[in-house]
């Protein structure tokens, strides 16, 4: 029956792990601005698109 002690310990450690991650996220200011990141994450694609455009152009030349 002592397996329940092991399980309990694991489950609480996992929960506390997530909790610490949450605290770190707040400290880093991830909750200060909830709008800009949603726009920012879309930019990566745009940058690649621009690069590929350029390579096509140079090929044409």
């Amino acid at each position: 029956m002592s397996v329940i002690y092991v399980l309990l310990t694991i489950s609480i450690i996992v929960a506390i792990g997530f909790f610490i991650a949450f605290i770190i996220a707040i400290r880093n200011g991830q909750f200060d601005d909830s709008y800009t990141p949603s726009v920012r994450m879309l930019f990566e694609d745009e940058l690649i698109k621009e690069k590929s455009k350029k390579s096509i152009l140079t090929k044409k030349d």
Partner: protein, 791 residues
């Protein structure tokens, strides 16, 4: 793609013929920005959004104050040898292109290592190396690509801002504990009598206790503090029963598990605190990009150019200006102190102070007041008073600006909580006495049960969720409220006071009427050609009003400052300007602004400028007059009185020549007679009145740019919707009242269990979340119904 729109900023580019890279531009400035971007592979800027840019303004010398090390130190967030961090407010940030370009600043200059945009606050945080790129050059760089930062005295005095994140911490902890306690108490809900579960009961219970400790001592601490403060000032606010309930929950649960009586109510306790904090979080919604607390500091520059006695220019901090200093004010700069004009032509725009958009011309020797904006080249002035003693800053020392309005009024929840708490205690006492007689072993159980179950979770949630949601809905309709208590105040209003200029009149539009002998075709052509050369605002408005004509090249053209213009073409001469200037002696004292015309020294007539009132003004006033007393308090003369009496309902009171202090006193007087006053204004001259009134609404043509301290900001385009907004606030109050009824029903059910001594933890655990969630659902649905109605 529209060939006639500027590729960079979207303005009309059909007349300029500036073409670069097969794209048309409206001006050289826009073209230059495009060149900068295309050379640095940043043209992606234009892919994200069509024509996102702004024309860069000429800022020669404007940021010289950023060379002053004392000022730089105050502005920098972080300052080490080769790493500097600064946060700059850029009003132009408005779309995803802006975010993209500002976060790619490192491609424009190698010394910039990182830049992060906060879109909500319209700020960019730049990390750069000041050894290579000084702060002044950074600001110049941003300005050159059309993103001119706005640096004001406010940035200087506040220093490093501390961000308060405690509510998120508290909410996170409560949520974490709530979830875990729920899991741990699950086996007990089903009363599983199995041997091995029985064995672990104490362990599970003590774990729940451990999770609840931070909730009661950290997450819930605001409720205890507020309840204590309330009791000390003899007010039974809503936090009193909440704190009482939470404390009883914790103590009784701890006692129960200690003596192995039961499983305790830790699930209900953590759930209660979690839901309450959620409501607080929801209501806390603010508009980060708007500021409701602005005073003159937000508009004043940090530094100004001083001319030293030996003729050198030097940047000084505004607070360091002393009486007798000689200052240099450049075009478009704000005058920070009261002073005397010494050199140059001053044309001052006092709209910032008075709300009046017409500019005033001043000659050397005239007194200039702080807050005016110079619009006509560079001037030199002698300082009369320091910043703190200037007229404008004196306005802010009035006591009304130090009062916190929200403290002075009891909100709807606290009004009801007094009666609630008293009846709760009476029920608890009666039930306990009853059980003491019947079965004394149950008495203490019943007493604590009553306090637990009656804990007004649903009651406390009704107002935050209703008002929070209404706040958001109104925000979408461009009516931005400072906080939720403004909605309650707005619903009680019975008197509405309007400022005139800039509030019920549109700032940019004026209507012009001509009186006199009609002008011949030739005269009109000459008039138009003459006006073309003048930069005076009246000339500009008149020029745009006249029909299109061929433009003549004048033989002679002369502008007399403060008087008018004289021009000649072949045989014809024309004079445009004030009545004495054109030789019209019989001018009776009219109060409206007028421009007189004489042709070949013969008086022709005059163009009179009238205020153009906002669209829908009459309808709005006619709707409002049924329920409210309407007053117009104007700082202007009575010139528009006839016009206004025609336009507005007859019972509207009209008062003219009101100084800022008069407006404030007028409101104070009516408040002392029991009126609930709503003040609607726009300029700094209304600031005192806005602060004194129960609700002060600032009308703004551009919500990002200017508004004095107020409770709410209304976009000028939505002015005619005001009546609907006030009505919506009244409906919001009704929703809150109905939710109170609903939560009382839940309390009655709960009290039945409590009084009869049958309160099981599982009943509490079901009833509390159920009541909270149904209240949230109820308020959300009905506030959205209100939102629909506004349209």
């Amino acid at each position: 793609m529209n060939q006639h729109a500027c590729f960079h900023c979207g303005l009309d580019a059909s007349t300029t013929h500036i073409v670069y890279d097969e794209k048309s531009f409206c001006c050289q400035g826009c073209k230059t920005v495009y060149q900068i971007f295309s050379e640095n592979d940043l043209t992606c800027y234009y892919d994200l959004q069509t024509a996102p840019g702004a024309t860069p303004k000429d800022i020669e010398g404007k940021y010289n104050f950023l060379e002053n090390t004392k000022i730089i130190e105050q502005l920098l967030e972080f300052n080490d040898d080769s790493t500097q961090i600064v946060s700059l407010y850029i009003p132009h940030i408005h779309c995803s292109s802006c975010i993209w370009i500002l976060e790619n600043l490192n491609k424009l200059h190698p010394s910039i290592s990182a830049s992060t945009v906060n879109f909500g606050k319209k700020t960019v945080r730049v990390t750069f190396n000041a050894e290579i790129l000084s702060l002044k050059n950074l600001v110049t760089l941003l300005s050159s690509i059309g993103y001119e930062p706005f640096i004001s005295l406010d940035d200087y005095s506040v220093g490093k801002k501390h961000i308060d994140r405690s509510l998120i911490y508290k909410l996170g902890i409560a949520g974490f504990a709530f979830g875990n306690v729920m899991f741990l108490s699950f086996p007990e809900y089903f009363e599983v009598g199995e041997f091995w579960l029985e064995q672990f009961k104490p362990l599970f219970r003590w774990l729940m206790f451990a999770f609840s400790v931070p909730v009661i001592f950290y997450s819930a601490q605001d409720y205890f503090i507020s309840a204590y403060k309330g009791l000390r000032s003899k007010i039974l606010n809503i936090d009193v029963p909440i704190a009482l309930g939470a404390a009883v929950l914790f103590i009784r649960s701890t006692v129960e598990i200690m003596f192995d009586i039961g499983s305790g109510f830790f699930d209900s306790l953590t759930g209660l605190i979690f839901f309450l904090l959620l409501g607080k979080f929801f209501q806390q919604k603010t508009y980060a990009f708007l500021s409701f607390e602005r005073d003159y500091k937000s508009y004043f520059p940090i530094g100004i150019t001083k001319i030293t006695p030996d003729g050198k220019e030097e940047s000084v901090q505004v607070y360091d200006i002393e009486k007798g200093d000689r200052l240099l004010i450049r075009n478009e700069e704000l005058i920070p102190v009261d002073c005397i004009l010494i050199k140059g032509n001053a044309r001052i725009d006092y709209s910032f102070v008075t709300g009046e958009s017409k500019t005033v011309s001043k000659q050397s020797g005239d007194k200039l007041f702080a807050g005016g904006k110079q619009l006509n080249g560079t001037i030199e002035v002698d300082v009369l008073k320091s910043v703190e003693q200037s007229y404008l800053t004196q306005l802010w020392s009035n006591d009304v600006f130090k009062k916190d309005k929200s403290l002075a009024f009891t909100n709807i929840t606290n009004q009801i909580s007094k009666r609630f708490t008293i009846s709760l205690l009476i029920i608890a006492v009666i039930a306990t006495t009853f059980w003491l007689i019947v079965d004394s072993s149950k008495a203490i159980n019943v007493f604590t049960s009553v306090l637990i179950i009656a804990c007004p979770c649903a009651l406390a949630l009704a107002a935050p969720f209703t008002f929070g949601n209404v706040l958001r809905i109104l925000g979408k309709k461009k009516f931005y409220l400072k906080n939720a208590s403004v909605i309650e105040q707005l619903a009680k209003i019975d008197t509405i006071i309007f400022d005139k200029t800039g509030t019920i009149t549109a700032n940019k539009e004026t209507s012009i009427a001509y009186e006199g002998i009609s002008l011949s075709k030739d005269e009109e052509v000459l008039l138009k050609s003459t006006l073309r050369g003048s930069n005076h605002p009246l000339s500009r408005s008149l020029y745009h009003l006249l029909n299109e004509h061929n433009i003549l090249t004048l033989d002679r053209y002369e502008e007399y400052l403060g008087k008018g213009i004289e021009a000649q073409y072949k045989q014809d001469s024309i004079k445009i300007g004030s009545a004495p200037f054109v030789g019209y002696a019989s001018e009776t004292a009219t109060l409206n602004t007028a421009v007189h015309i004489s042709s070949n020294n013969k008086y022709k007539g005059k163009f009179t400028f009238y205020n153009a009132y906002r669209k829908g003004l009459s309808q709005l006033f006619n709707k409002l007059k049924q329920d409210y007393d309407l007053v117009i308090l104007s700082g202007d003369n009575e010139g528009e009185k006839d016009n206004l009496t025609k336009l507005l309902p007859t019972k509207t009171k009209l008062l003219f020549n009101q100084k800022p202090e008069d407006k404030l006193e007028y409101i104070k007087y009516h408040q002392s007679e029991g009126a609930h006053v709503l003040m609607i204004g726009d300029g700094l001259n209304d600031a005192g009145a806005l602060a004194q009134s129960h609700v002060g609404i600032a009308i703004s043509e551009n919500v990002n740019v200017f508004s004095p301290a107020c409770d709410a900001i209304l976009d000028a385009s939505k002015f005619n919707e005001l009546y609907d907004y006030i009505k919506a606030s009244k409906s919001a109050i009704n929703i809150v009242k109905w939710s109170f009824v609903l939560s009382f029903l839940y309390n009655c059910i709960g009290l039945y269990f409590a009084v009869t001594g049958q309160l099981e933890p599982v009943v509490a655990a079901i009833l509390m979340p159920l009541s909270s969630i149904s209240i949230v659902a109820f308020t959300t649905i009905f506030t959205n119904v209100i939102g629909r109605k506004i349209n």
